[in-house]
Amino acid sequence: MKPEELKYAKTHEWVHVDSAEGGNGSMATVGISAFAVEALTDLVFLELPEIGKQVAAGDSLGEVESVKAVSDIYSPVTGEVVQVNEELPEALQWLGEDPYGRGWIAKIRLGDASALENLMDHTAYSKLCADEES
């Protein structure tokens, strides 16, 4: 997936919605941004959400731990977790090498698509990252 085509949360998760309408029932793929992976560095542990879990936008979706600290992954959307990237905890390097592809974390069937409106496009997100850098 191209980073330019994704939506982003302030907490550095990305979302890809795989239908043109993007309404309720659409499938959203969620991961964490290259910026977040770069900021965390030296990842040692990832906890995936359970399949079937109902999450609201802003709920914890799992956690990622680096040598330095542990961080929550927040769901950028509201819905039901229907699939997780089972191989990822044993291949944490994918988060760095391919954060928008093989580094995906979960697929969520949207329950309330309105939460998508609170997300940023790539331009706005890039600006947020630049601000956090300085």
């Binding site: 560095t41 030296d42 040692v44 542990f45 956690e63 731990e65 680096s66 040598v67 330095k68 600290a69 542990v70």
Partner: protein
């Protein structure tokens, strides 16, 4: 309140070389230049170069300097020969730890003196403690002169650590480095400037620490960084300094030590000389030693994959028996490690405990410290 952060003489270099900077002890310090794990391994395998200019450096001169320091430190330094370095603690009247320090006995063109290196975040507190005790001593009409000076801002301090540290340092220092015993120090020329070199460190590796004039820091750093790089070493930030010292089970003030923790509780008996001593806090420590009912500092290795962090509860049969003071994923051992304080009956090596990792219990075992000893691999 200090609202602006102090900057080391190498601050500009760090930011120009992409270091992530953050506050530590009132200073803006490099946390990492790239990967923490890479910096950690480079130190264990070759050489790590550290900017530790934030450490406080205090100089004591005069006839009364030795007796005065003996009055404040958990073991005496007045009888140290020139060139010797000693680890000791400053304790309050309750036996709690004000700071852990290194004291070197040295001699320069102005005569003999003591150098005390203190933790960055404790410099103001230690300076105030010294001043208040000094006026008490003056009231008591103790004989002899005492000059006391804080040299922190005039100097830079660097550490070169790791199996190839000696080769790196030999580039800039013609002193007989290999001939220096561990915990010795000398005034010598470093890169043609007057400085102090000591065979000390905070990584569990062999290595040296250097003190040079602040104005010369960047020139020296560049030379050392270049040589270290050629030998497989690198510049190392505070994050890897923390994982290195944790593997070596060295206490970090604010985590394993504070004003309510005695050196005995921290397992630092080797640095406390109760017999014959008359230092501040001694009487309280004698009582602590008699009672023996305090929590002990222990090492834990967890069987899970998550790293224990400061403040996580340590449990036995669901009951809280202690808490984590420092923890990480050990880059050298590849497992989660931690230091913790636990009730004495659970402090024996081999004791099985669990750690409450954000609501989920992971099993862990009390192990012998340190986690890593050089030459073990």
């Amino acid at each position: 309140m200090n609202l602006t952060l102090a900057e080391t003489p190498l601050h500009g270099w760090h930011t120009a070389h992409g270091a992530k900077m953050a506050e530590f002890g009132g200073w803006s310090m490099p946390i990492q230049y790239g990967s923490i794990v890479d910096e950690h391994h480079a130190t264990r395998r070759a050489a790590g170069l550290f900017d530790i200019s934030h450490m406080g450096r205090l100089i004591f001169r005069g006839d009364a300097a030795g007796p005065f320091l003996d009055h404040l430190l958990t073991r005496p330094v007045s009888q140290l020969g020139v060139g010797r370095v000693r680890y000791a603690l400053l304790t309050n009247a309750r036996g709690g730890t004000i700071d852990d320090v290194l004291v070197s006995r040295l001699e320069d063109s102005e005569g003999p003196f003591f150098l005390m290196v203190v933790n960055a975040g404790n410099l103001q507190k230690v300076t105030a403690w010294i001043e208040s005790n000094r006026s008490e001593c003056a009231d008591a009409d103790k004989e002899g002169s005492l000059e006391f000076e804080d040299r922190t801002l005039q100097q830079a301090m660097l550490a070169v650590q790791g199996p190839r540290a000696g080769e790196v340092l030999a580039e800039v220092c013609s002193a007989d480095l290999a001939g220096m015993g561990y915990y010795t120090a000398q005034c010598t020329e470093i890169d043609a400037k007057e400085g102090i070199v000591s065979r000390t460190g905070y990584t569990g590796e062999d290595g040296w620490e250097l003190i040079v004039p602040a104005t010369h820091a960047e020139t020296l750093w560049n030379r050392l960084a270049q040589v270290a790089g050629q030998l497989g070493g690198t510049c190392v930030g505070l994050a890897a300094r923390d994982t290195l010292r944790l593997e070596a089970a060295m206490p970090l003030y604010g985590h394993e030590l504070d004003e309510d923790i005695s050196p005995l509780q921290a397992g630092l008996e080797f640095a406390v000389q109760l017999e014959g001593g008359s230092f501040v806090g001694r009487d309280a420590l004698v009582q602590v030693a008699e009672q023996q009912d305090y929590r002990r500092r222990v090492g834990l290795v967890s069987s899970g994959r998550r790293a224990p962090r400061e403040g996580y509860p340590v449990l036995v049969s669901g009951r809280g028996i202690g808490s984590i003071t420092s923890g990480t994923h050990s880059p050298t051992l590849g497992v989660p490690i931690a230091m913790a304080y636990v009730d004495r009956e659970f402090a024996d090596v081999g004791t099985e405990v669990s750690i409450d990792m954000r609501g989920r219990e992971e099993r862990a075992e009390v192990v012998e410290l340190p986690f890593y000893r050089r030459g073990d691999t």
